[in-house]
């Protein structure tokens, strides 16, 4: 991971954790349990790189994105925006919102349907202090950046008059118009038509390459992650279970969960015959004993039930949270990265895993 320090890390998250308390279905007396939605997630979003987060529904990937956007306050952990530590309990500043923008899954739901595209685009500009005389020009420029041509044609339309692909481009334009450094895209293509998905993916890739944005791409489609991403993170039940710089993770998966994800992608060359995975799924979890994947894992061993595996270094820039690799050295995210801010709390969290 040493060359990462040479790169421009825009947003650095360390040990981000979010616990929710949830009612136990059917239980009386308002009994609650803790759900570990995201547990000890560390990521670096680097300028000019696309980081993909892959996982099933409920694996915590959207909670992670919302913590990075500071919409959800983490239970613990640290965030650094361009080297500056962020006080997570303070109110989110306008400047933070301008630098870290979130694009949501459903473009029909994320645009106000009773306002023109113009209003939807100009409002963030005005909020972020653009001069009134300039907003139209800036809005047009933003539309051009997302390859909507001619941009004038789109300003005076209502969201319902546009297709899903066009609207998703507009919501990316809306995120871009405040000049962010980090773009968090939460399943940006899953609601779109198959034929226009690649267009939006290519657009994100292009923005990343040409404008040096740091992009977090959240998806459950590992093939699209392989297509667009520079590095891939696989999440399961709130934990990062496998990480690889580059796409080795897809070509040579090491974690049994990643292997399951890859085997689940429809492959026209193989008939469906494959047997379903044994065991009830545990996507959200209230247990911290042992590996979270143990109930579904075809290679589960004794140790998997007893203690939680740490991240093992399975290759250059490739880590896996699985006891299968216990002979390999452990990896802690902080090994090669200089800490700008240390805290007793954080020390404790690294060693406890």
């Amino acid at each position: 991971m040493s060359d990462l320090t040479a790169l421009e890390v825009q947003l650095r998250a360390r040990h981000l954790t979010r616990h929710f308390s949830a009612r136990i279905p059917g239980a009386r007396f308002r009994a609650k349990r803790v759900v570990y939605a995201v547990d000890d997630a560390s990521v670096d979003l680097v300028a000019g790189r696309v980081t993909a987060v892959v996982g099933e529904s409920g694996s915590g990937k959207s909670v992670l994105a919302r913590m990075l956007a500071r919409i959800i306050v983490p239970t613990s952990g640290e965030l650094e925006l361009r080297g500056v530590p962020i006080d997570l309990h303070a109110k989110r500043t306008l400047d933070y919102a301008a630098q870290v923008q979130l694009v949501l899954q459903d473009p029909f739901a994320s645009m106000n349907p009773v306002h023109l595209v113009r209003r939807n685009l100009e409002r963030p500009l005005l909020i972020h202090g653009a001069a009134k005389a300039q907003v139209e020009e800036l809005a047009l420029a933003a539309l051009r950046r997302v390859s909507l041509d001619p941009p004038e044609k789109f300003l005076d339309r209502y969201p319902h008059e546009l297709s899903g692909g066009q609207l998703q481009r507009i919501s990316i334009a809306r995120a871009l118009c405040v000049q962010p450094k980090v773009l968090l895209a939460d399943e940006p293509i899953s609601m779109l038509d198959v034929s226009v998905r690649l267009g939006v993916l290519n657009l994100l890739r292009g923005l990343c390459d040409e404008e040096h944005l740091a992009v977090l791409y959240i998806t459950h489609d590992i093939a699209s992650a392989r297509y667009i991403a520079d590095e891939i993170v696989v999440m399961y039940a709130g934990q990062i279970v496998e990480y690889s710089r580059g796409t080795e993770l897809v070509d040579a998966p090491t974690h049994p969960y990643t292997q399951l994800l890859i085997a689940s992608v429809p492959d026209p060359n193989n008939p469906v015959a494959g047997a379903a995975v044994e065991g009830e799924r545990v996507v959200t979890t209230s247990s911290r004993d042992g590996c979270r994947f143990v109930a579904r894992c075809p290679q589960a061993m004794g140790i998997c039930r007893e203690s939680e595996p740490p991240q093992f270094q399975v290759g250059e820039g490739h880590t896996s949270r699985c006891w299968l690799y216990r002979d390999l050295p452990e990896s802690t995210v902080d090994v090669a990265l200089p800490r700008r801010r240390g805290g007793g709390n954080q020390e404790q969290m690294t060693t406890s895993k």
Binding site: P25, L201, R226, L261, P271, A276
Partner: protein
């Protein structure tokens, strides 16, 4: 219609658009659904938008027909039309949909397009059932799952008493891999995959001959999708029902369907066996769809999907509705509408001027041999190991 198109129509009998019911005895006994010239409009008169345009389908017992297409291509409208679930302003404007509910020796054919309420009631759910896309919307949020099973069984299986109905509901849940305690749950207490399993169990409740799946796994993630699909196939092997499977995910369809039809702007543009469609697509739209899925193996290559967006059916493009997005468009494509015509001794058909007789030669990527390795000659440049 041009003279060529008329000639093409004469060659391929399935092109017949007038709803002339053939005597059922002439057909092979194994068929279960035969749709001819089926059309659906939304709205009337000048306002009418043709959502499904002269669609022909044929389905044999225990087979799987895949319907692929983007949103707005008319695939859901087709299904709602066939099952007569269409709401105003949707109107069936032509064609027939013969459903054979008898066995091989004694065919009992009804035309779904003209059947009255009483006949439809006898067919719906007990002969044809539908699994809808959004299981959350399809289940009543204030009714426990068990009550839904109870209601269906008490309506259609009058001889069963309460405990027998419950036993049947438990049996159905077990079939789809759910525990019986789920019967006491409300829909919001279940995950998306569990809700979709409940929908499938409900669809199976009366042992129908035909199940229509309208994007059953689109809202689910890949792991759940695979689990549900493999369960579905175990169930099909056991009960032998036929399926119409609608999805936009062509790579999933290739895996599970026997025959696939591709819809674009309300029309069928290609019909072929799954194998043939995947290895040797003939329509540029099919090729575009196949190239819209990033590969899991091989070298990285830039893919471009299909440029542009699906047409607005209230102002359909002239000629072939795909021509504004088609990389192979010729002058003729914007003038004449290509009709579906047979290729390879009628084993498949395609609606594209590139494959008309005496016309231009089709490009290499649209005239591959069936079974050839599509990837090796792909224009996208992706290479399989």
């Amino acid at each position: 219609m041009t003279t060529d198109a008329v000639a093409a129509a004469a060659e391929v009998p399935v092109m017949e658009t007038t709803p002339t019911a053939e005597p059922a005895e002439d057909r092979p006994a194994r068929w279960i659904l035969d749709v001819r010239g089926f059309s659906v409009d939304y709205g009337y008169g000048d306002q009418a938008v043709r959502a499904v345009d002269r669609v022909d389908l044929h389905l044999d017992r225990s087979t799987v027909l895949g319907v692929a297409g983007e949103s707005g291509s008319g695939k859901s409208t087709l299904v709602y039309g066939l099952t007569r679930l269409l709401r105003a302003p949707g109107v069936i404007t032509g064609g027939q949909a013969l459903f054979n509910r008898g066995d091989d020796e004694h065919p009992d054919v009804i035309d779904l397009t003209t059947a009255d309420e009483k006949e439809l009631r006898s067919v719906r759910w007990s002969e044809i059932s539908v699994v809808l896309q959004s299981a959350l919307n399809a289940l009543n949020p204030v009714v426990r799952v068990g009550s839904v099973f109870d209601e269906i069984l008490s309506t259609h299986r009058r001889t069963l008493n309460k405990s027998q109905r419950r036993a049947r509901a438990v049996e159905l849940l077990t079939l789809v891999g759910l525990n019986e305690d789920r019967l006491m749950r409300y829909p919001h207490e279940l995950s998306g995959g569990q809700r979709q399993r409940i929908m499938i169990a409900l669809a199976l409740a009366l042992e129908p001959k035909l199940i229509i799946m309208d994007e059953p796994t689109t809202a689910l993630d890949v792991v759940t999708q695979r689990e549900i699909i493999s369960e579905l196939f175990t169930l099909r092997a056991h009960f032998g029902f036929a399926m119409i499977f609608i999805t936009h995910d062509l790579s999933l369809l290739v895996q599970l369907a026997d025959e696939i039809v591709v819809m674009y702007a309300g029309r069928l543009v290609e019909r072929a066996s799954a194998r043939a469609l995947f290895s040797a697509p003939r329509h540029p739209y099919t090729l575009g769809l196949l190239n819209s899925f990033p590969p899991m193996h091989g070298a990285h290559a830039e893919l471009n999907g299909i440029p542009g967006s699906p047409p607005d059916l209230s102002q359909p493009p002239s000629g072939c509705s795909f021509h504004p997005r088609c990389p192979y468009a010729m002058p003729r494509c914007s003038i004449d509408v290509p009709e579906l015509r047979g290729l390879d001794e009628g084993s498949r058909s395609v609606a594209c001027w590139l494959h008309s007789e005496g016309g231009v030669a089709a490009p290499v990527e649209l005239s591959r041999r069936v079974g050839a390795d599509r990837a090796s000659t792909d224009q996208s440049g992706s290479v399989r190991p």
